[in-house]
């Protein structure tokens, strides 16, 4: 299929947008933890985004993304009625959704978007669910109400202290362990540095911690190897073997480094785009 119509758009926080896209066959098959690769137009780049939600009846999927570079800015400029040329999926392995007992969900920034459908599914399995979510400041917190409906307690941490604890999500995780004891299972999604910090904390308590890795991808089908990560000493392709892995086994340094591969080119492309849209705006 090609040309997927955008049917809904909301700005959740500054620079964080939600698009609802008509894609019935995808909506029919999507499971929590899976992602799509989208390609906006013939000249566009292929980028991976988590399926943040899906509605099988309506035949739609939801994408929530942060505008960080060329493609996400272009995506953010779409309006209902516009189309996305290509969306391939659902890719990756679905999240493991079993009964674990006491489960802690940890989300940082836009990481709350992929976290929410997993949390909801874990809740449906009758897990005792709590969550720690963090953001730069109050206005950047997303999906708070949705998370509150499935998690209790919901501990919030912001870098500037404008809401909840002041500090990173790690502060919230420490608080949870202190007040509620250690969980049986932990799911953690956010920026690499945050996931690494949470994993080194939970490792001390031997709490199994699953993370969702977001390396650079091209095809998303296991063909290019761009997404390779090292987990427990073995090479894995995040698009087919993941994106979820045991966070205690991930080679984090390698992972963070490989995300920098195209830094220079990414800046160049975004700069050109922003200059162009600015001059178009002035005209």
């Amino acid at each position: 299929m090609i040309n997927f119509p955008v049917v809904g758009k909301t700005e959740l926080a500054p620079g964080i947008k939600k698009l609802v896209v008509e894609a019935p066959s995808l909506a029919a098959k999507a499971k929590p933890g899976q992602f799509v690769v989208l390609h906006l137009h013939a000249q566009g780049e292929r980028i991976p985004l988590t399926i943040a939600d899906f509605d099988r009846e309506e035949g739609t999927i939801t994408l929530i993304f942060q505008e960080v570079g060329l493609t996400t800015f272009q995506l953010g400029s779409l309006e209902p009625g516009d189309t996305i040329r290509d969306i391939a999926g659902p890719l990756g392995r679905p999240s493991r959704v079993d009964y674990f007992g006491k489960v802690l969900c940890v989300g940082g920034g836009v990481g709350c978007a992929p976290l929410y459908p997993i949390a909801r599914a874990l809740r449906e399995q009758k897990n005792d669910l709590a969550a720690v979510v963090g953001a730069r400041s109050r206005e950047f917190l997303i999906l708070r109400k949705e998370m509150e409906q499935v998690c209790s307690p919901l501990i919030i941490a912001t870098d500037d202290g404008s809401e909840g604890l002041q500090g990173t999500v790690l502060r919230g995780v420490e608080k949870y362990f202190r007040e509620y004891g250690k969980p049986d299972y932990c799911v953690c999604i956010g920026p690499p540095v945050m996931m690494e910090a949470v994993c080194s904390f939970t490792r001390n308590y031997k709490v199994k911690t699953v993370v969702s890795l977001n390396p650079i991808m091209v095809d998303g089908t296991g063909m290019c190897g761009a997404c390779r990560v090292v987990v427990g000493g073995e090479v894995k392709f995040a698009c087919v073997d993941g994106p979820e892995f045991d966070g205690h086994l991930v080679d984090w340094e390698l992972f963070r480094r490989r995300l920098q591969f195209y830094k220079r080119e990414e800046k160049l492309a975004l700069g050109a785009f922003l200059r162009k849209s600015r001059s178009a705006g002035e005209r």
Partner: protein, 453 residues
């Protein structure tokens, strides 16, 4: 045939070989003796009527020549460009002994290009049989099956995971060797026969093989060998180390050579090492030259004799300044403090015993280690089938679990109604081998469908 000058061509992605003019083609065709035994045909796996189409070229009947070609070959403009003619048809030509075989590939290309420029005539297809066939993968194998079955009146849908059809023809083989417009025109022809192509449809994810078996009367699997092999040596994950698949996909499918007009970047430094010795390695090296690398060296652990590359491409690469070092294998990539690759530690090799591939095995020479300073590495040591998506049907796999097992004559797998062919079955091979497997499978599928009630 005219060829772009090396000093010009290393600056562009334009096609290197320019093709025959009508006069040149007629003159070359006139050399063909029309041998009654046609030994050349023995070298063509798909059995093109070589003397037949060449004599039509000689008479200037180019459209008829194209029709003759297409009776056997669905993608003549592709094969004429990329078949290893030196090891196939042209090797068997009676004139090869004198060192001047008929340029069969170039004639084939001429005819197909002429047809494209003068408008393709699509043969009428018979009435619908009402039978439905699903083809998974739109590479040469899948396209061949699809076209052949559509011509029999079956209704065929091709499912492709990527956003563009063509398989390796689109994402692997570079523009300067196989222009994407040529691939697109061949695919348009297949669609004109009534074949539907569904893009962005990874089978095993969006639909399972089980779904397809329920919805269709037969299924053909032609998903190729897309999984890149890695060396498994230290430093392979440093920044600046690519698999050839990533490098070539960025450049060919995503057009990174036109960055930033096209949004996908690719990064090539000044000194590039390509590891491997096949078509993939040589393509990667020639792409690196065109992207501005100052020095490109191909490190191959055997010698030129064992190198499985089209002879012409090797010559072109040398003329373009690609440097080949034989009997050299990498041991380790070493990086700087920021994690970018800076040098490769290598060992020299000697050829030892003959191994299971029938070639002499390279053996490292102790104490012969040396380093080469580089800032980009492209690993091109082969691909394997990406069977992960199809893992739901483990009964299809060979005992090693790495390939799909299928009868080489019919493409039949142990599962009734499921057929397979191309690189998925044989491992990375050639376009014409994949097409031949497709042609055989199409026959078997047609037979299978006619027996269905």
């Amino acid at each position: 045939m005219a060829i772009l000058d090396p000093t010009m061509r290393i600056r562009t992605f334009d096609e290197v070989t320019l093709g025959y003019t009508s006069d040149q083609a007629k003159r070359e065709a006139a050399r063909c003796r029309g041998c009654s035994q046609a030994p050349c045909r023995r070298g063509c796996p798909i059995g093109v009527d070589i003397p037949g189409f060449i004599s039509l070229v000689k008479e200037g009947k180019f459209r008829e020549a194209a029709q003759r070609l297409r009776e056997r070959n669905t993608l003549p403009a592709v094969c004429g460009r990329v078949c290893p003619q030196d090891r196939n048809c042209e090797k068997h030509c009676v004139l090869a002994k004198k060192g001047a075989p008929i340029a069969i590939g170039r004639l084939e290309r001429f005819v197909a290009d002429w047809e494209r420029e003068h408008g393709m005539t699509v043969p009428p297809t018979p009435g619908s049989t009402g039978k439905r066939v699903a083809v998974v993968g739109s590479g040469p194998a899948g396209l061949t099956v699809a076209a052949a079955l559509a011509r029999k009146g079956h209704s065929v849908t091709v499912f492709e995971a990527l956003h563009a059809p063509g398989g390796v023809l689109s994402y692997g083989i570079p523009q300067f060797r196989l222009p994407k417009e040529v691939v697109a025109a061949e695919i348009d022809y297949v669609c004109a026969l009534g074949v539907k192509i569904e893009l962005n449809t990874p089978i095993g994810k969006l639909y399972s093989l089980r779904d397809l078996r329920r919805e269709y009367d037969a299924v053909f699997l032609g998903t190729g060998a897309g999984l890149p092999r890695l060396l498994g040596i230290p430093g392979e994950h440093l920044n600046g180390v690519y698999t050839a698949n990533e490098f070539l996909t960025r450049v060919n499918l995503m057009k990174a050579y036109l960055f930033p007009e096209y949004a996908t970047p690719v990064r090539v430094g000044k000194r590039v090492a390509v590891i491997g010795g096949g078509n993939v390695a040589v393509d990667a090296a020639r792409v690196a030259v065109r992207l501005g690398a100052e020095e490109v060296v191909v490190l191959y652990r055997r010698t030129l004799v064992e190198m499985p590359v089209r002879a012409e491409e090797y010559r072109f690469a040398c003329r373009e300044g690609v440097f080949f070092r034989f009997l050299v294998a990498p041991l380790e990539f070493r990086g700087d403090a920021e994690g970018w690759v800076r040098e490769v530690l290598c060992t020299r090799c000697e050829l030892g015993e003959v191994d299971e591939s029938g070639r002499r095995r390279p053996v490292p020479v102790p104490g012969s280690e040396f380093t080469i300073p580089i800032d980009t590495v492209i690993v091109a040591i082969g691909q394997e089938p990406n069977i992960l998506a199809l893992a739901e049907v483990s009964e299809l796999l060979t005992p090693s679990g790495r390939f799909v097992g299928a009868d080489p004559e019919t493409g039949a797998t142990p599962v009734p109604g499921v057929f397979a062919g191309g690189d998925l079955v044989t491992g990375a091979a050639t376009v014409i081998q994949a097409m031949t497997a497709g042609r055989r499978a199409a026959k078997a599928i047609d037979r299978y469908l006619s027996e269905l009630e």
